[in-house]
Symmetry: C2
Subunit: 506 residues, 2 copies
Amino acid sequence: MVKYREVAVSEFFEKNRHLLGFDNPAKALLTVVKEGVDNSIDACEEARILPEIFVRVKNLRDDIYEVTIEDNGPGIERKYVKEVFGRLLFGSKFRSLGEEGIQSRGQQGIGISASILYSQLTTGEPAIIESKVKNGQHYSCKLYIDTTKNLPIIEDEKILETTKEHGVKITLKLRGSYRKSKGVEDFLKYTSIANPHAKIVYVDPEGKRHVFKRASEDLPKMPKAIKPHPHGIELGTLIKMLSRTKSKTLYNFLMNDFSKVGATGAKEICKLAKLKPSTKPSEITRKDAERLLKAMQSVKLQRPPTDCLSPIGEDNIIKGLSKEYQADFVTAYTRPVAVYRAIPFQVEVGLLYSSSLPSDQNITLIRYANKVPMMYQQSECAIYKAVANTQWRRYGVSHSLGSLPMAPMVLLVHIASVWVPFISEGKQAIASYPEIIKEIKLALLDVGRKLSRYLSAQQRRYARERRIKIFTKYGVEVANALAELTKEDRAYIENLIKKLIEKEGL
Amino acid sequence: MVKYREVAVSEFFEKNRHLLGFDNPAKALLTVVKEGVDNSIDACEEARILPEIFVRVKNLRDDIYEVTIEDNGPGIERKYVKEVFGRLLFGSKFRSLGEEGIQSRGQQGIGISASILYSQLTTGEPAIIESKVKNGQHYSCKLYIDTTKNLPIIEDEKILETTKEHGVKITLKLRGSYRKSKGVEDFLKYTSIANPHAKIVYVDPEGKRHVFKRASEDLPKMPKAIKPHPHGIELGTLIKMLSRTKSKTLYNFLMNDFSKVGATGAKEICKLAKLKPSTKPSEITRKDAERLLKAMQSVKLQRPPTDCLSPIGEDNIIKGLSKEYQADFVTAYTRPVAVYRAIPFQVEVGLLYSSSLPSDQNITLIRYANKVPMMYQQSECAIYKAVANTQWRRYGVSHSLGSLPMAPMVLLVHIASVWVPFISEGKQAIASYPEIIKEIKLALLDVGRKLSRYLSAQQRRYARERRIKIFTKYGVEVANALAELTKEDRAYIENLIKKLIEKEGL
């Protein structure tokens, strides 16, 4: 007899940890930091607090590391702490298909508990959690995950009286591998660039303290939640929405549960689908739903709303880049909101040029999705493809098409969306939708042109300086010659020439 | 206030369908067929039935396809049907870390229910399931998945009296895209090559019937389940095993719950770990477990057992390849069992050379993991890398290092393992562990040499034939000349030469 059983989702991910970014020790260490920091910044922003994040990575022995992440956020209500950290697929961020979505760093409610799972698997140690519950009071516990049940096991629960003002603090021990380049340090630096309203302090395994300063005192405006747009849903989702809706009639369902459907649109859809506006959603059959979907997708509607997105902003990109790199020239461009598969998205680009950077190497490309840096799978990412296939030579930059340009340059590309189309697990690269590539290229065009103007001006300035130098050098002799020819006073002519050079030099 | 909630695993995968191979319509269609066929062959083999699989892909309209998969397996017990198909992470194949493992096509208990989820999402249609429950009696139903609860919703349950002798039959309607090359047809052809004991009949969207014949009447021997080897486990897994074991003492735990630990090994481990053999597993602390793991990993033990693997076998590879391709030369090689991270695996290679194939194109490389063809991500796969970096020129084949050789050749590479290290979701490429690459290269060396001998023999034969042709042409004149010189009878000499040529020609 074949034996059947149910598998807990935590056992599934324990075995398939590569699906969530834990496929090797270096990536695992970075993933743990990333998941913690993402959560911290999200929580601070939601509570309208300027984020202050502390991260420490300590090498305990061999390949065992201790990671601490601490924030100044609002903390987590005591009754939820165990479940948020101790169960996979429990959280506040997951939005089902057909539900309202919102732009946030975390999207699944799986990252931090998966980090705890990984640390427990590799070191057998519990996570140590501390959360503010009210002013001056912290709740703390040690937490394991019972993978067979996907439930937390709690030890050493305590209420601490404290004067410390942090929100959540989490400490994990795990098998890792520390990389200097493209590792935790770069990740935090890049995070700080795209989030200049955050202060991040990082203590690395050598005990060195890195402070990524706050460069802006303004919290980004909160993105608004967005309902699905009729042009972007699938039949299965529509059927699910019909069965779950609180609206009493089809007409109300169309207007309440979707974005950009008004009275006219709703009526037109009903008419096209040959359904009465007063039909109860629960009475719509699958056959009806098929017609309804066709009608919804053929009717002309406004594009999805744009206030659901929270870009970094041109000012902040410039501030962020300038605080981490010495800039000779820096510019940024935020594109208008665009749409792929009825999902709004927005592309931003920052470009920094600096003679302090090496000019015989590839540029540094920093890729972001919803303000979170992507550190792996660069060449598979739509951002890389758009950059590598832009004609950088036109802008005066050394480049062979298909690879990154060679220049003393940092290029930042950000894509904000309610639903970022990652190519796979681990959220490290964005799928190459033509609409997305196109938007990135348009943004690059803009900063490319500005760079080109800067570089031409630079060249003109050099040329003029050289001319002036030569002129100055021969000024006296020219004055002599002119004095002889014109019989004017030599000193008077020399003075005229001097003034001329000074004017040119302005 | 932040709202928290639990997310059902089915909602998670509905939204993250790319994690399971449903990232685009062409891949989705192939994945659905693959999951169904994998299950069918697994079920038949377990029940010791020679598999007979029927697959039909029908284009209903636009991009909507109906897929039917039917087998002659044992069927599924009625009480389990709903759950096997209607719940994600419910099945018979998942093995937790620390549990016994077994080589099988499916490994998760997630593929077929995910296929149903995808079809429901894209078309809103239920799966239609039919399963033999006893001879002459079938159970049938329509099945939806309630994604909020990860539970089945059943309609139209029936018991059918039937004379038809199939096991499970499943019909799905889904959004797909049909590709002639590297699609369903190739997948089934390759499946049939690696499983020559199966008969597969396929009706394609144009109504054309393809029969992939059975070439062997012998069922492969069933692989044995294997316990974890002490050299390959992690601390978290050990701790979990200690808490779950039925063994009463550490000594018994070591011998019962692991492979290749005998009395001597168990005692040595206890001594090294400074733990009494009589210690109760439940009393071992995390600190103890750390020492225990170190001891387990430093003690010398036999390598993992090899009877847990079920290779295709050299004979069957040759039969399989020969039935689908016309062969001038065909050979195969099954390597001995090897080990990566204490997990046994086995590499097999088949090579078919045929003048009927194009000689100015890359070879056809067919990659298998546990007898299932991998159709995507070829260049990221250890198999591809090993093939591309083998010196094919040495064996007389046109090749530039780093890509596939150019020759009229089909190359089959199979990796069998209890736990195949796929690089990611969808099981389409194998991670490049050095041990795995090495084994593949050794296997290629063997068939490469055999090919080289064949090609040299071919060349010698051609050369000889050419010589004989020339000799025959000038035979009469040679006879005349010799007769004159030796004064022997001309006819006698001509006869001698003729005999000589005939002998050479043998």
